[in-house]
Structures are given as C-alpha cells and as structure tokens.
C-alpha cells in the first residue's frame, strides 16, 4: 500500500492539501499544467477584504511544500485503478503509482471577449479585473495613466444564460469594491463607478470595505447591468445602463472600464473528468457525492475533490476544503491499511 498521493493542480488547494498530507505522513505529488505553482493567486496583487498581499499568502502556502515533488507543465493523460492503487500516466512519458488522487484543478476566468457587447479586445479602454490586478502587481500588461473616470462592471460572464453561466461567481462583487478603492487610492481625483445588480458582500468585513468605498472613497454605486460598451471620437469608452433605482436610462463616458469576469469550470476539466470518470454537472463544475456533508468525495473510490473545481470559492474556503480532503484521504488510506 504506497503512501504516495497524486494531487492534480498546484493552486492554493493543491499546495495546502500537500502540506497537510506531508504532516499526516504521506507522500503527495503535485501535477501542475502551468509552468508555475499558485494558480490565479500567483497572478493576484492584493486580496479582499483587508488587502493582504497575495504574494505573502502564496509564500505561506508554498514554503512548507518546497520539498514536495512537483511536475510542472504536466497533465494527467490516463489513470487506471489496479487493486488499491492507481497507475497514472502523465504527459512527457512519466508515470506514478498512487493510492489516492486529489483533484484540485480549480477554475478558469470567464473569457471576457465572449461577452461581445462589452468590447473586450476591441475597445482599448476595456480591461478585465485580472488585467487590473496584474497591472497593480507588475505595472505590465495594460497601460493605465491617470484615468479621470473609471467604471467597474459586475457579473461579466456570471448570472447570464446568454453565455451559459447561470451561476453567481461569488467573489467578483467584493473584488470590484476592493479594486475600486485601490484605483481611488492610486488616482485620488478620479471618479469611480460600480455597475451592479445585487451587491453580494457576503463575508465578514466585506460590508466594511463597501462602507469605506462609499464614504471614504466616494465610489458611486449604480444599480443597473451595463448593456453596451462603445468608443467615442476621442477614444473614451461609452457605456449604457439603466439606473434602475430611479428607473432612468443612463450613459457615461469613461477612460477605463474594468470587467469583473466570473469563475467558470476549468478549461481542462472536460478532459480530466473523462479520464477519472468524474460526475460533471451542467454548469461544468464537478458534482461532489453530497454537496452538504461530503464536498470532498467525488463518488469514485480513492478520488477526492478540493477547491473551486466544485464551484466558485474564496481562498479561505478553498484552504479549508483542502484540509478536509487531506483528512478524508488519511481516513480512507488508514481503513484501507487495516483491511
């Protein structure tokens, strides 16, 4: 009975699970399809609600697993159950024999160009929240110089049946308010607008962030989904919405428009769920055995789940799920050892 455990995905979920499995005496192996660990967290600058540095959080997750074997730029090609083990073929001709598999494939950001009417990739002043985060972090990617009017569009690729994602992605509202404050911090004279349908500030201290955005930073919240984006003669981005609270159509031209792209199922999950014959729901996320009491259980013996692969999550929730799955794997392997 080997104590090697395969972890698919080197994001926050995979890293934390590996750390816990090490502490429980197992030998986790991380398989990551990109060339770096950390997933989206590695590309983020600051985290809500209190603006903690993403880099510090990433360091806290990577440091404990620096000796854990990791396959970068690698994906799972095949996995066959052989008795109590799995023979897993990895890209690049490698192979692993493991006694359990933990799927932490995470999520993909909604490709903003799919929402054609917002003109991402067509009008220069339109960027996404991840573009902005990267700019805050590295100053690279998009060029932002002293915008006087900035707009944030909530629910881009979420709660929208036109692009087949009816779900709410949970974290974009609070991220938009965070970024709105960061923009006002950096450009104090700018005027910032947030176009929302329902401001879902569900977590602790999120409401404080919202209140600060209102009275300290005077961010202007307009309740109305943006219907269309275009570009005027001077190159400014012109947006149309309805201020539903005064039931009047509204128009404003901005220097910068940030699209809060939502979370959709990871682009590689279709293939992976086929290889591991996981149960994939209509919205693309993996369906756990029981969404209340067994979020970690994939319903297939020896295969476990953690993180945003089963739906939008915040990082604290992802880390908790990673620990829960590590414990579930420990219980599973201990029972196996007794039999």
């Amino acid at each position: 009975m080997t104590d090697r455990v395969l972890i698919i995905g080197g994001g926050p979920a995979g890293l934390e699970a590996a750390n816990q499995l090490n502490l429980l005496g197992y030998k986790p192996v991380i398989v990551e399809k990109d060339d770096t660990l950390g997933g989206h967290l590695a590309k983020w600058d600051r985290l809500f609600p209190e603006g903690e540095s993403a880099e510090t959080v990433l360091y806290k997750l990577i440091k404990p697993v620096e000796h854990t074997p990791v396959y970068l730029n690698t994906i799972v090609e095949q996995a066959d159950k052989e008795g109590n083990h799995f023979r897993v073929k990895l890209s690049g001709g490698k192979e692993e024999i493991v006694s359990a598999i933990l799927v932490c494939a995470g999520f993909s950001l909604f490709p903003a160009e799919k929402k054609e009417e917002y003109g991402y990739g067509i009008y220069n002043g339109v960027i996404t929240s991840s573009d902005l985060e990267k700019w805050f972090k590295t100053g690279k990617g998009v060029n932002i110089n002293n915008p006087s009017k900035v707009g944030f569009v909530h629910c881009v690729g979420s709660r929208d049946e036109k692009i087949c994602n009816r779900q709410c992605s949970k974290v974009c509202c609070v991220t938009a308010v965070k970024q709105a404050c960061e923009i006002k911090e950096k450009f104090p004279d700018s005027e910032v607008f947030c176009f929302y349908m329902d401001l879902r500030m569900f977590g602790r201290k999120y409401e404080d962030l919202y209140l600060k955005a209102q009275n300290k930073y005077r961010v202007r919240f307009i309740r109305g989904r943006v219907s269309e984006v275009s570009e005027d003669f001077t190159g400014k981005v012109v947006i149309k919405a309805e201020d539903t609270l005064s039931s009047k159509p509204l128009k404003v031209s901005l220097d910068l428009l940030v699209l809060m792209t939502g979370m959709i199922s990871n682009s590689s999950i279709e293939e992976l769920s086929g290889i591991l014959s996981l149960n994939r729901a209509e919205d693309g996320f993996i369906e756990p055995a029981d969404t209340i009491t067994k979020m970690y259980d994939s319903g297939k013996e020896g295969i476990f789940l953690a993180g945003a692969v089963t739906g939008p999550k915040t990082i604290p929730e992802t880390l908790s799920e990673a620990r829960a799955s590590a414990l579930a794997i420990h219980n599973y392997l201990s029972n196996k050892a007794i039999q």
Binding site: E116, Y120, G121, I122, Y123, N124, S230, E231, D232, F233
Partner: protein, 338 residues
C-alpha cells in the same frame, strides 16, 4: 479600436449562404421607396452573374408590419408565411431569399417558434389547408438579399468601375453602416458577423474600398418602430431615435451611410430633412447632409450604373456631393427627367 478583436468575432459567425437556386420575395417598403434597388439586385444576380433567382407573381406581403403593429394575430402572420413557403415548395425551390429585413426577422422567428412548438406548426398547416388547399415545406435555408450581395462582393469589385474612394484625396470614403434590428439582434447566428458587430455591410464597404466608422450609437435603432411611425402622433419618437444616431456619428464626419433594411434608408434620409426643417441643423462634412444608400444602390454605383437608373433621384438628401467625391460621371439635367 483593435480590429483583430472584431475579426475574431466575425470568424465565429460564418453563416452558410447557398450559391444559387433561390426563391426571391420582395419587400413592401422597398418596392414603394427604393424600387430600383430591387431591380438592380435581380439585374446583378440574374443578368450579370447568371444565377437562378425565381420570383412568382403570386407571392404577397409577409404581413410583418401589420404583425408588429399588432393589427393581426400571430396565427394569421404564420399562415401567410406558410403560404409563401407553399409557393416556394410548389415552384420546386429550397433556398429562400427575402428583400426585407423585417420579413427576415419574421421568417426566423416563426421557424424557431415552430421548432420549439411543433403543435403550433401542425395547427398552421391545417389553417393553411383550410384557407387555400396548399401544403408547404420549411425552406432548407433562409437568407436576406444583403447576404447574397455580401457573398458576391468581390465578384462585384472585379466587374467594378468605381470604388468607395475620394477621387481627389485618394482616401477611402468614411462609411457608416447601419444594420436593420431584425437582421441579427433576434437570432445572432442568423446574421453574418453576429449581433454586436454585424459584418454583412462592413464586408461590402471594405471590399469596395471604404473604411467603416464605429460610433457610440452604431447599434441604436433608426427609429422606424412601426406604430411609432405609421401614426403621425408618435413620429416624434421615431425622429428622436434617428436624431440620437446623427448626433453620435457627426464627430466622425461620415461621407455616406449604407443600410440593408427597407425602413432605415427612408428614415435616416427623410429625418435629416425634418431635423433641418425643425431644428435648422444639418450633418455631414459640408453640412449638406449625409447621403443614405441601400446596399444595392452602392453595388450599382461601384458597377458603374447611371445614378438615375439606381433611383437615387428618389432620395431627399442630395447624393450629388458623394457622386462627385467618387468621381462618378452623371448629368444633372436627367435627374428628374421622367
């Protein structure tokens, strides 16, 4: 503006437009206000390019304007359309091409409704049989006449005599393209280029040497709105929509407007006249108004037709400034010679 972004979207909406053997039906409004456009269309496809476009004298209106003005119930509209399809089936055709955008929206809406509610289709078949003893097949493909000209745009260029280029400066003409709302807003996949950045007219304008302007109110309706125009009391709403578009496109100084719907060229043209009368305001580079064309008229100009054979004398906003810019030879006296 990053054009690659648009190109990527255009590539996702590759609509299948049959090459030949079409059953052609006319548009009520265009026959009234742009008759020459329909004549030029058949002239190009039949006489110049030798394609098979059949027209039966027995076809009628599709009833679209009455339907959108709530004058006839949906079943009546569907049965009239079923009759049109029956005429096509009897003539042995499968490809249906209509000259009117409102009709194009009606045909797509009905076929899609029947797809979701087969029992409604069955009821309409009975009603048609009861009324006219006819049976019909749903066309294999329904396209709009502008799709056909779009597909032939390069052939037209090859036979072309003029291009949408300013003769003196050599600069491409600045073209505003206005797409009829019912072309792809209801069913994006039914329009070349989708609903947000339709390519059917842009493709023509660019192929013939022009450059297309993207202004904030590009996607806004021309204001026809059926009951908004037909009843005089409501026409203020229709006028205001066109006014909103012209105020938005004015800074871009367009040379011409190309349209593919029956109503838009009439309204974008006539409302300029009314805005000048009421507000004393004109648009266009030399504020003599921005001439508005149907796509067949523009195709005709490129091919070297005489402007007065194209029916340009039926426009209110003067077309001569545009003809001079391109360098098209015409003689003024013939304009209103009947």
């Amino acid at each position: 503006m990053i054009v690659e972004g648009k190109k990527k979207i255009w590539s996702e909406y590759q609509k299948d437009i049959p090459d030949d053997h079409y059953f052609y039906v006319r548009s009520c409004i265009r026959q009234n206000f742009f008759p020459a456009s329909e004549k030029v269309f058949l002239d190009i496809v039949r006489d110049r390019l030798g394609l098979d476009f059949f027209e039966t004298p027995h076809h009628t209106t599709c009833g679209g304007i009455a339907y959108h003005s709530d004058s006839i119930p949906q079943e009546t509209l569907m049965t009239i359309v079923a009759r049109q399809f029956a005429l096509m089936t009897e003539a042995g055709y499968e490809n249906y091409v209509c000259s009117c955008i409102t009709s194009f929206g009606i045909y797509n809406e009905i076929i899609n409704t029947w797809f979701h509610y087969p029992e409604l289709e069955a009821k309409i078949r009975e009603l048609l049989w009861e009324a006219s003893k006819r049976e019909f097949k749903i066309p294999k493909s329904v396209v709009h006449a502008s799709d056909v000209i779009y597909k032939l745009r390069n052939k037209i260029l090859e036979n072309g005599k003029y291009r949408l280029v300013n003769k003196n400066t050599g600069e491409p003409l600045r073209v505003v393209e206005h797409i009829g709302c019912h072309y792809s807003k209801m069913f994006p996949s039914k329009g070349v280029g989708g609903a947000e950045y339709p390519y059917v007219l842009t493709g023509m304008a660019e192929a013939w040497g022009g450059t297309v302007i993207d202004y904030p109110e590009r996607r806004h309706c021309c204001g026809f709105g059926f009951r908004q125009y037909l009843v005089q009391a409501n026409r203020g709403y229709s006028l205001s929509n066109t006014h909103k578009k012209f105020e938005s496109m004015a800074p871009f100084k367009p040379d011409m407007i190309i349209t593919n719907c029956p109503g838009c060229p009439y309204f974008l043209d006539r409302w300029q006249y009314v805005i000048e009368e009421l507000e004393g305001k004109t648009y266009g580079a030399d504020s003599k108004g921005i001439p508005v064309f149907t796509y067949e008229e523009v195709a005709g100009l490129v091919l070297g037709y005489d402007p007065w054979d194209l029916g340009l004398q039926m426009h209110q906003t003067a077309v001569e400034p545009l003809l001079d810019k391109i360098g098209i030879t015409y003689n003024k006296e013939d304009k209103y010679k009947i």
